[in-house]
């Protein structure tokens, strides 16, 4: 018989961002029992449902080996007795060691409900969470938050088990305030019963309810998919409402208002027709309605207080100019072993100058970190840089200067854009390079997943800025002689072109092997490589180049004179002529002519000629061929089918 299955782990509120991962972990573990479950969750429940479970596993047979045929009859009887059968029922089997008594015992398939009852407690406790707690006492089970009820049903039967003092059953709980508790359900009525008790089980349905609710409010939001996702997993019954704030707060920078609404209050910001911030917001309640407007007014008051705070900080910060705050950075530690932010600032200014930054870029570098001393940044650390830029603007710094300060943490991810102009790019580069050089120097390179200073992101940012900003900067020269940092950067360069830009990994390896210090030049080579790759001559030629590389390596070739007089007429001379013709030409225009000559050479000519002089001469010629393209790519890195 085929049965449906339901597991609901009822908990206290699980942090929203951990829920999808927990469902994945539970799903994978159930798969280990052969259960392909559909997963759902709200903050207070993790649910798995599946159809078509067998009532019991199929019966199996087990072969039990007994004494040898020649054994004492007593022993044979004993063996039979142990199995609960008569000696006549035993079979005799030939094995490599002779004939033995044996018996095929039927093993009844285990009941699924027993398997579940036995496995589920362990499975539940093995759900992976980034942080767990205990609540029943020291040494007790650990979970993300206390488990308060468990529904476990196979068909209409409860899968009985106990976990953390909670007995599994068939009773669920609804919304904390709008629903009932201890509601008996069946698998068939489960989702609708929850719905009747103001719990929308499906995240997709909650998302849809939020989106439709917002649409019904008739406002245009600043798109914010991560916030939407947070709210989907922070609510069981989401309902959006709109609130307003005093338009006089619009005198504060939009960036500040948005961060207050988003990070502190989890509100969506609203735009007017022209894309400017409107004095409204959308909050998502975890309840069904706000008929009296109490929730709206409450949220409006909270936001007013938050905005008042922000304005207080903004005004207080204006009393001391950014430029006058730079010296205060002597008291702000960058890193214990790397000194203060003032020292960092001095280094970054010097580096910007070295990179060819002009007066504005140097000014921006000097001001860049000064906002770390402001109240607004202490309150909203995620706005560092942005706040400095806004203050610099308010204090009359030229556009290029304030924009460079504003942008200098960019790109904050690979999806983020790079600073908008050169000054900002140079400040951002110098800041990141200084951090990287310093951290590697004092032994704080990232290890495994530990990267507390986000050095990978910093290096990734350097690569992205240089490439996308088209900056002609010798990266290796800037890194200095630190071998570990060079290796780290090479890995980041590969990552960028492969995972961010989508180049094939072998093309990336081939192009990087020909040098990567000048990143825009590397990018140009990669683009060319990608273009010529599909030509019918390319891969065969690449295969030949790989062959040449191998031949040279096997021959232990370390260089040698080449003499045209030793060439044999025919394919060898032809190839030499072609190599000469190709010299100095871009690979695109020579590949078609070169390939048949190379093929013919390998077809007709034995590199390992009996005469050592001829052999050495051939090796030298082939080496010369590789050398011609050495600055373009190492073709032996190309993975070919041939």
């Amino acid at each position: 018989m085929s049965l449906p299955f339901l597991l609901e782990i009822g908990t206290e509120e699980i942090p929203d961002w951990m829920i999808p991962g927990a469902l994945g972990s539970l799903h994978d573990q159930l798969e280990g029992l052969g259960i392909a479950a559909q997963m759902d969750a709200t903050p207070r429940r993790l649910t798995a449902r599946a159809e078509g479970l067998s009532e019991r596993l199929p019966d199996t047979e087990e072969r039990v080996m007994g004494p040898p045929r020649a054994a004492n009859p007593k022993a044979v009887e004993g063996f039979a007795r142990k199995l609960g059968v008569r000696p006549e029922d035993l079979a005799v089997e030939s094995t490599g060691k002779g004939e033995y008594y044996a018996y095929l015992r039927k093993v009844a398939g285990r009941k699924m409900i027993d398997i579940l009852a036995e496995s589920l407690p362990g499975i539940i406790l093995k759900i992976a969470f980034p942080k767990t707690m205990y609540w029943t006492g020291r040494g007790g089970p650990r979970f993300i938050r206390p488990i308060r009820w468990i529904v476990a049903l196979l068909g209409s039967d409860v899968v009985l088990f106990e976990l953390a003092g909670v007995q599994s059953g068939n009773e669920t709980s609804g919304h904390r305030r709008l629903g009932s508790t201890r509601i008996p359900i069946t698998i068939a009525t489960y989702e609708q019963t929850l719905r009747d008790n103001f719990v929308i089980l499906s995240a997709a349905a909650r998302r849809q309810k939020i989106e439709e609710g917002i649409a019904a409010l008739g406002v245009r939001l600043k798109p914010d998919p991560p916030l939407l996702e947070t709210l989907v997993y922070l609510t069981e019954y989401p309902t959006p409402i709109m609130g307003e704030f005093d338009p006089q707060f619009l005198a504060l920078p939009e960036e500040v208002l948005i961060i207050v609404m988003r990070h502190h209050q989890k509100y969506f910001s609203v735009e007017d027709e022209s894309g400017h911030l409107a004095p409204r917001f959308v909050a998502v309640m975890n309840t069904n309605a706000d008929p009296e407007g109490l929730v709206r007014r409450g949220n409006e008051r909270v936001l007013r207080a938050r905005f008042n705070d922000a304005r207080f900080f903004w005004q207080a910060d204006q009393r001391k100019k950014l430029a006058d705050r730079v010296d205060d950075l002597a008291h702000v530690t960058f890193q214990a072993k790397l000194g203060s932010y003032l020292e960092k600032t001095d280094r970054v200014v010097a580096l910007v100058k070295e990179l060819g930054g002009g007066e504005h870029a140097q000014r921006a570098a000097r001001l860049a970190k000064a906002d770390l001393t402001t109240e607004l940044v202490k309150e909203f650390t995620e706005l560092q840089g942005v706040v400095g830029g806004l203050y610099a603007r308010a204090q009359g710094e030229p556009d290029e200067v304030w924009e460079a300060v504003y942008d200098h943490y960019k790109p904050e991810s690979m999806e983020d854009s790079i600073p908008r102009h050169t000054a900002g790019r140079l400040v951002s580069l110098a800041d990141k390079l200084d951090t990287l050089r310093g951290c590697f120097r004092v032994g704080m390179a990232p290890t495994g997943s530990r990267d507390p200073f986000a050095l990978r992101r910093a290096a990734q940012g350097v690569v992205k800025i240089i490439v996308e900003g088209g900056l002609s900067i010798p990266l290796l020269g800037l890194i200095g002689g630190d071998a570990q940092l060079i290796e780290f950067f090479e890995e980041r360069v590969k990552f960028y072109f492969r995972d961010v830009r989508g180049f094939a990994y072998d093309e990336v390896n081939a192009a990087i092997a020909a040098g990567w210090s000048d990143l825009p030049e590397l990018e140009a080579r990669l683009l060319r490589l990608k273009t010529i790759r599909p030509s019918p001559d390319f891969e065969p030629l690449a295969a030949s180049f790989k062959r040449i590389t191998n031949i040279l390596r096997q021959a232990g070739f370390t260089g040698g004179a080449f003499s045209p007089s030793l060439l044999e007429p025919g394919p060898e001379s032809d190839l030499f002529d072609e190599i000469n013709r190709a010299a100095g030409q871009p690979i695109e225009s020579v590949i078609g002519a070169l390939r048949p000559k190379v093929d013919l050479f390998f077809d007709k000519v034995l590199v390992n000629a009996p005469d050592p002089a001829v052999r050495a001469n051939r090796l030298a010629m082939l080496h010369g061929l590789l050398e011609q393209f050495r600055t373009f790519a190492d073709f032996s890195e190309i993975v070919t089918n041939s």
């Binding site: 942090p15 942080k131 205990y134 029943t136 206390p146 309840t287 007014r297 909270v302 207080a305 705070d309």
Partner: protein, 293 residues
């Protein structure tokens, strides 16, 4: 409209009905109700405990001269410790909000992850900030460790921000406008504290003197802690007085910090000094309680 003090009375009555001892505030300066011995020491060991008290909590750096409507140098926390935490602790908590007149069917309540940590106490727990119509009104924590010790029994700690809760209930935009008692506003009672302590903490506190005091209290606490292992009659050893000295250090640290007298590099070191003492008291206390059983 309930006055500030009425709300306090009702919350105390509510928790008293649920088996809590109602304590008075601790009489040494603290930054939070958690630091009082009624929480910090009582959560240690296996013995059940239930207590509720209002604790004026001093945070020198948060002072705003009485000019900011929401920030206070000294605010009042209602601290509730339920050890062990009952299975329906959240329902009980929500009931307390209804007891002060909040109809939760008319409001939006959310539990947002917020894990509490007090480095100076070697204490941490997991929990939530409880949001009522977008306002954080309570910090809810399941203690896991205190004084660096894994707790035998996990208590629930509920910390209500009483000024915020009252401003919410009285629909007031400024904490100074809330009614403390009929005819007296919060400002009438507390504005001078806010102004004068802000002036002192930010402008006039004598840094050298505070450091001297810090050293003296630290020395006294350390002296006692060093004497504990050799002391024969454990039960009468003065660990509670030693802990008072730690609290003094903690408050002096906060004042020096507000005064801008502690650089970022020094900060970590001073926190370590306070933590060492707090952890020392907690460990000795756990030992003393164990010996008494």
């Amino acid at each position: 409209m309930e006055s500030f003090q009425e709300i306090i009375f009702k919350l105390k009555a509510y928790w008293a009905e649920r088996g809590c001892i109602i304590q008075e505030p601790y009489d040494v300066e603290v930054g939070a109700g958690t630091m009082c011995p009624e929480t910090f020491l009582r959560v240690l060991g296996p013995r059940p405990y239930r207590v509720a008290y209002v604790q004026p909590s001093r945070r020198p750096a948060d002072g705003r001269y009485g000019e900011n409507p929401n920030r206070l140098y000294k605010h009042s926390q209602l601290q509730v410790i339920l050890k062990p935490s009952p299975a329906d602790v959240i329902e009980q908590y929500l009931g307390s909000l209804e007891a002060v007149g909040i109809d939760l069917r008319q409001h939006d309540i959310k539990f947002e992850e917020d894990n509490w940590e007090a480095p100076t106490l070697g204490a941490w727990g997991v929990g939530w900030q409880v949001m009522l119509d977008g306002l954080e009104i309570t910090q809810f924590t399941y203690f896991q460790q205190c004084g660096g010790i894994d707790l035998d029994v996990v208590p629930a700690e509920l910390t209500y921000g009483l000024e915020r809760l009252t401003a919410f209930l009285q629909v007031k935009d400024s904490v100074y406008d809330i009614e403390w008692a009929p005819g007296f506003s919060y400002g009438d009672v507390r504005l001078q504290d806010e102004l004068q302590f802000s002036v002192y903490n930010f402008e006039m506190a004598e840094v050298d003197t505070l450091w001297k005091l810090f050293d003296l209290h630290e020395t006294e606490a350390a002296r006692l802690l060093a004497a504990y292992p050799k002391y024969a009659e454990k039960a009468r050893f003065p660990l509670l007085p030693a802990y008072d000295q730690v609290l003094k250090c903690s408050n002096l640290f906060n004042t020096l910090d507000a005064r801008g007298a502690i650089s970022v590099t020094e900060r970590v070191g001073v926190i370590q000094r306070v933590r060492k003492l707090a952890v020392g008291v907690a460990q000795a206390w756990a030992d003393q309680q164990g010996a008494a059983q």
